[in-house]
């Protein structure tokens, strides 16, 4: 169990990825400056200029107009604002046949969406419609159309994630947005996982609202954005000074916003080569893991355009995910069971269950996610120990 005398191997970039040096430098520099971007004096104007330049950079990266970017404290806040805010905005009493109360989403969303939708259902009179996914985690556009077409006037908002955080399934967001728009319903997508590895173009996607966050692409934790198309005006979740177009209140975090923009730009600059490099590393990893453990099941879509390049997710039959994680951790390898924890009690992944996996397959799974600092050494380190770790975890599970 003693860690090897090597650097730790970090295969959990989907949880958070190292801050890029240029983002750290930008943030550190900005932390030394005074000024609230909402203040009218010189110090405030200086901070405001930094925020607006950052907004322009981010707009450029994500194919949006600067005015469409609403800064938030991160992905969770942006998701809450999109789902709750757009739902509330549709409860305006302007329709003769009543307010739309259905929220359409998938059963594989991040908890920021899942739990927001459940809350709307439990306390706000919404009706949640959970779109099924295939055994690869992909949503079928036909299923979305069928669900909306039942009663289009009753659908308040649709939210489908761009790329799944656990199994890396890349949803046909453009197609889904187009279907949704045919019925005049706003479409939101959580692009938190997609933003670092795929060309996320807001305008081209056709989405009305899109969530991104800083720390998945080399920026700091605690800053993100909801990108909102003209006409999509959510009711605020946070009330206060109205700093972000009266849609989001709270003093803007100039250093974090600056670092977010710097990281996003660096990420975008390298994205094409990085995606290719990560896909090759990932394929190598899948190959090594399946060679070492022939019955390991790769969950999610096959490597290719339908899967995030840096994502691999396996079920190891006969193992408990927590035992695997602990043994890998002891070998200096960081990964994730991809499951939600309360008091650390691992629940079987709702994503795998939605994909039709049984409880034991869902529990015996691990996510390995690559990022911009990943190298072949990381992949080889995993390949070297995975057999022994799985054997040991299997013995522990059969007791």
């Amino acid at each position: 169990m003693t860690p090897q005398n090597t650097d730790p191997v970090y295969l959990d970039h989907a949880a958070t990825t190292p801050m890029r040096p240029e983002a750290i430098a930008a943030m550190a520099e900005e932390l030394g400056h005074l000024g609230n971007p909402s203040s009218l004096h010189a110090a405030g104007r200086r901070a405001r200029r930094v925020v607006e330049e950052s907004r322009e950079q981010l707009a450029e990266v994500f194919g949006a107009r600067p005015s469409e970017i609403i800064f938030t404290s991160g992905g969770t806040e942006a998701d809450n604002l999109a789902v709750k805010g757009l739902y509330w905005a549709r409860q305006d009493g302007t329709r003769p046949r009543g307010n739309p109360h259905r929220v359409l989403t998938t059963s594989v969303e991040h908890h920021a969406i899942l739990d927001s939708v459940r809350w709307l259902e439990e306390s706000q009179g919404a009706e949640a419609i959970w779109l099924a996914v295939g055994d690869d985690g992909m949503v079928l556009p036909g299923a979305l159309r069928a669900a909306i077409a039942q009663a289009p006037e009753q659908v308040a908002v649709v939210s489908v994630m761009w790329a799944n955080n656990e199994v890396g399934a890349v949803q046909p967001v453009g197609e889904l947005a187009a279907v949704t728009h045919e019925y005049g319903v706003p479409f939101h997508t959580d692009a938190v996982q997609a933003a670092a590895q795929l060309p996320v173009d807001f305008a081209a996607s056709g989405a009305d609202a899109l969530t991104v966050t800083g720390h998945k692409l080399g920026g700091p934790v605690g800053v993100g954005a909801l990108i909102l198309a003209r006409g999509a005006v959510p009711v605020p979740v946070l009330h206060g000074g109205g700093q972000e177009r009266d849609i989001r209140s709270g003093t803007l975090d100039t250093p974090a916003i600056r670092a977010f923009a710097v990281a996003a730009e660096a990420c975008a600059r390298q994205r094409a080569e990085e995606a290719e490099r990560l896909a090759a590393l990932r394929d190598d990893m899948v190959c090594q893991v399946q060679a070492a453990v022939p019955d390991a099941v790769l969950n999610g879509p096959p490597p290719g355009p339908d899967r995030l390049p840096g994502n691999a997710h396996f079920s190891f039959p006969g193992c408990e995910g927590d035992a695997l994680l602990m043994l890998l951790d002891a070998n200096g390898i960081a990964c994730s069971t991809g499951s939600a924890c309360t008091a650390g009690v691992a629940e079987p992944s709702h994503v795998l269950l939605a994909m039709g996996a049984d409880d034991s397959r869902a529990r015996g799974s691990l996510r390995f996610s690559l990022g911009y600092t990943s190298t072949k050494r990381d992949v080889d380190a995993l390949g070297l120990v995975i057999r022994e770790v799985v054997d040991r975890a299997r013995r522990a599970a059969t007791r």
Binding site: M1, T2, D322, A323, L325, M326, L327, D329, A330, C341, T342, A343, G344, V345, A346, R392, A393, R395, A396, A397, R399
Partner: protein, 367 residues
């Protein structure tokens, strides 16, 4: 090669200090908190139990301070099946279980130990107050904290992989040491009661699980004195809460003498009706001596923190027979009878029958 030790960390001061001592002793220690409820907030809250979110956080912070890796293991299913359901079933059968003992036997030194060994650990370390010398379980140095009773069900194999670093130390010193080590749990109150009964109301807990099961309260002559809503609300030796209106003929207090689970009849009577000298016990475990074929002088403890009684014990087929030199009172079926030679734990069994008069043949379970 460094011994790899898994420290079970409840979130309390004892297990945290035990883990720290294991580190100082040179072992390669990993901390594990056992999540025993699928819904942690449903168990006892506040700094009293071993199963809450707060306890998990306390354990994690202690592991941080000690500087060891920390994980949470989900043992909720096993705990529910082997401890909670067993607890309910034992009461339903008219017995009085000890859930801590069962948890040690089935969870900490079975499910957890087995998993730990399979994962490459050599031992499980806990904050129990007991000592292991040459593979034999002994009482702790602090008689007020001694927990050898709830560990006496462990087999030789289980003991050989157990580590109790606190056995030599009085509790007060452990708290002082925890404070010196900077462990925030140094002054956290001791846990009491049953950790999975959030409000401490055992009778209410059993009523929720077993429902109403009314029966009669009778005296030793069989005369009906009253009704009860569930025999599980009683334990042998209990005096309070009998809710019998008819006063005893002699005006003396009455105690629960017997619980008959099938007819749900609770027999009450005077204190001397509680006197027991003959005890039978099953599921014997002998770790401090060979199973005695002939009566062997020993000390007998019949409940946690109970007094010890001098007597003899011997094996009769696979049953332990115990004869006390002087009567003991309030001996409940389902509790463990633990046999000692001084501080040495010789063995244990689960009490299945008791009798008062020495003239009753040892094979007969007069109840």
């Amino acid at each position: 090669m460094t011994l790899r030790v898994l420290a079970a960390m409840s979130g309390g001061v004892d297990s945290a200090t035990a883990a720290a001592r294991a580190v100082n002793a040179g072992y390669d220690v990993t901390g594990v908190h056992l999540a025993l409820s699928a819904n942690p907030s449903s168990y006892r809250t506040g700094a009293r139990g071993c199963c809450t979110l707060e306890d998990a956080r306390d354990a994690r912070r202690a592991a941080d301070v000690i500087g060891i890796p920390f994980y949470v293991w989900d043992m909720a299913e096993r705990f529910h099946r082997d401890v909670v359901q067993d607890f309910v079933a034992e009461y339903a059968a008219g017995r009085t279980p000890n859930p801590c003992l069962r948890c040690n036997e089935k969870i900490k030194f079975a499910a957890v130990l087995d998993k730990a060994l399979a994962l490459g650990f050599d031992a499980v370390c806990t904050g129990h107050y007991a000592r292991i010398r040459s593979g034999v379980l002994h009482r702790a140095a602090d008689p007020g904290k001694d927990q050898s009773y709830v560990l006496a069900v462990l087999t030789q194999e289980q003991i050989s992989h157990a580590m109790f670093p606190l056995g030599d130390t009085p509790k007060a010193e452990v708290r002082a040491e925890a404070a010196r080590r900077g462990l925030a749990v140094a002054d956290k109150p001791d846990s009491h009661d049953v950790c999975f009964i959030a409000d401490g109301d055992t009778r209410g807990f059993l009523a929720r699980h077993l429902g109403e099961a009314p029966g009669q309260i009778v005296d030793t002559s069989g005369a009906v004195l009253g009704q009860h809503q569930g025999a599980y609300g009683f334990t042998v030796g209990q005096r309070r809460g009998l809710r019998v209106d008819t006063p005893a003929g002699d005006g003396k207090p009455r105690y629960v003498l017997d619980i008959e689970p099938v007819t749900r009849t609770v027999t009450v009577g005077p204190a001397d009706g509680l006197d027991v000298t003959e005890i039978t016990a099953t599921r014997p475990v002998w770790t401090g001596c060979a199973p005695p074929a002939e009566p062997m002088e020993c000390l007998v403890q019949l409940r946690a923190h109970g007094e010890v009684h001098a007597g003899v014990a011997w094996m009769d087929d696979d049953t332990v027979r115990i004869r006390l030199h002087h009567p003991a009172r309030g001996v409940a079926r389902g509790q463990a009878a633990v046999l000692y030679d001084g501080d040495i734990v010789l063995g244990s069994g689960t009490i299945t029958g008791t009798a008062a008069r020495t003239c009753v043949p040892a094979g007969q379970d007069a109840t």
